[in-house]
Amino acid sequence: MKIEAIGVPELKRSLKAAADYLFLNTRVLDNLNVFPVPDGDTGMNMLSTLKPAVEALLDDDAGSCAAAWELLSEQANKHSRGNSGFILACFIRGFSQRLDTDAAITAELIRGGFDSGSYAARSSLLSPVEGTMITIITAMAEAMAETESKDVLELLRAGLTLGRVKIFETPRLLPVLARAGVVDAGGLGFIFVIEGMMRGLLGAELQSEVEEDYRFEPDLTVPDSDQGKLSFRYCTELMVEKNGELPWPELRLFLEQRGDSIALVREEEYLKLHIHTDTPEEIRAKMAELGTIVSSKIDDMEEQINASFRTLQDHEALSVLAIVPGSGFKSVFSDLEAAACLEYAGRLPSCGEILEVLEEMPSENIIVLPNETNIIPAAALAQQASGKNVFLLPTENVVQGITALYGFNAEDPPQQNIRSMGDSIDLGICLKVYQSSRDSRYGSVEIKKQDFFILRGAEVLAVDASLAETVERGLTKLDLSEAGCVSFFCSDAFDEAYTTELEERILRLQDSLTVEFHYGGQTNSLLIVAVE
């Protein structure tokens, strides 16, 4: 099959197929999108730009291809969204400038249109980046320029062939793509548009592209860079009907100081701006000085990025709920990746209170650390009553809870976590230090009012009027040969003046130990001591 000229009906059919091809493969493009920001909307932006323009064209009675393409350009400009949509609209506009009043489009006009479209797309960007859609458009234009055929199909095939080669070179040009193991989504989207056009001309079936064909092993040896990271929060697009001359290059400087991914179309009557910025209102005010704002759009890209990850993070991921005896433990457990902490002071939490927190947590898979023997029954009841997948690891004190979290990895399945967390429970010993408020007897041990005593479980290890002496004697009852660190979690009643003496006494016992003091905020014991 050979086509030497395209009339309006063929152009309409071809462009409808292009929009349909894009629609069919929007998700592939969205999933591959990592540059300029990984907000997962390249396919949708290109589709939102092309589809309404094509629909407007299908409803129109354009008498010539030049008029049809002019309408397409006008509508694409009007509807362009995002970086990729903007560049696609610029290409269409540039292409239309090569068509004068031509009734039909020949191979020669396509060659010229691609050349002009490539120039328009590239020159609209204040800082063009290679490895993106402009690289692909330029390559396809060059391939066509070198093809002397008068056959439109052969010309499109030549462009597509080189485009499909060049798309796999984009990761070499743009390191962020290599690190992510993807080709450039915008460039690929442009290939899909032209592929769709050609299939439309041929009357060939449209096909779903396979995302994996455009993915490869991420090259993590490529140095990380700021590419693909969110430098500015708002994707801002404005269309302005000009009321005079453009203050250039002052406008350029103004924009460059306030954002990136800047693209600007400067037509005789209007301006169209795309910019990623943190100050969209300031940009808007500046553009309003240049004329009448006829359309504007501000997208929060941070929200878009978060939304694309939220489902996995909130629902599928495994979370930990730690029940803690004081506010200081919240930061300790949070540092160890516990998603939520239920703090109690004095009175132990009820099943209902535990259940309430479980239901508030976004995750459906939760491991509960009761961290106190007497809370285990209430936690077990909450586990049974909850409609979520709740796993109970019966930690008997906060030190067990802390060391259990050493074995936690949110990316592993629950049962594997339960096993590795269970294996970690015994990595530390928990001691509790109290000061007696009256003369009393604890088992067979007599304790005088104001005496300090140190417990391991229910066993009294030492009693003395001196806090440091009590702690030292308590620690001598333990085998410290494999210990590396003694951490004190202090209550509000603990006097910080004791810290130096405590540290000196412990180092006297074993100078290789590390001694740390943290705020625990517990109310029932003076100190909780973790020996690890």
Partner: protein, 287 residues
Amino acid sequence: MVIVADSSLQLSYQTIKELNIQVLEYPLFVNGEPYPVSMSMSREEKERLRGLIKDKRNNVSTSGLKEEDLHRVWERFKDQKILTIHQSARMSSITVTVLQKVKSELPHLDIELFDTQHMIAAYTVQVLQAARAQREGMAGPELLALMKRNRENTRHVGSVYDLFFLQRTGRIGRAKAILGTAMKIIPLLGSSEEAGVLKNIGKAKTYQQANQRFVGMMAEDLAARKARRVTALISRIGPYDRETSHLKELIEQQGWDADVEVLSTNHSAMPHAGPDFYDLGYTVHED
């Protein structure tokens, strides 16, 4: 047959010479300027480099193998079979691309590329065993079969005290909340189901806990294969002599037939793993 490795190898210069391993040098750059490195660097020289890396304002990086170096080394052994052993292709795809490209340019040479699917100590322990087997007369398909078996049975674990460098060079994924916390927790990393990709395998407060965890994993691996023999290699950078000696002793106390060595990390691993880590690569033998 000649064995060719690259400078991410952790073996001492003396061992490299004894086992006649040819080493391809990754160039190293400090703030874009070439920095003189070689496998014969002394511990003091490595410590000086460590000091530069520890200052996070310095950008210390390696680049891919130089094609001319590869040509030069491979051409030198044109009359022999050349076995080039490299780190995980997944983590060093540029290296592998260069290796494949130069190999295709030298069709007259008999070059075998072997992907160990591991890094640092776990890469090194595989090269070490291949070189020892070769010295004992093993060659050809028999040696390759041994290497494939060893690769299957090798695991990589380590304590990395500062994840900044692994993050900067993309060796691990998303940032972990445990970075920079008041609790001073040590992240433990290990090989994952994906070849060459490190994952979080837990945390520890003390090196004793970390080492117990590593030895626990070794015990599980030995039990799973009903094996008693293990070859292990520990590499360290920074003041971790006490930690690595403890790990070696702990392994030796288990009553296994264990061959364990502690080595000082060579320069090429430092920009990626950072100035503060020790790691363990071990191969469990089913015989």
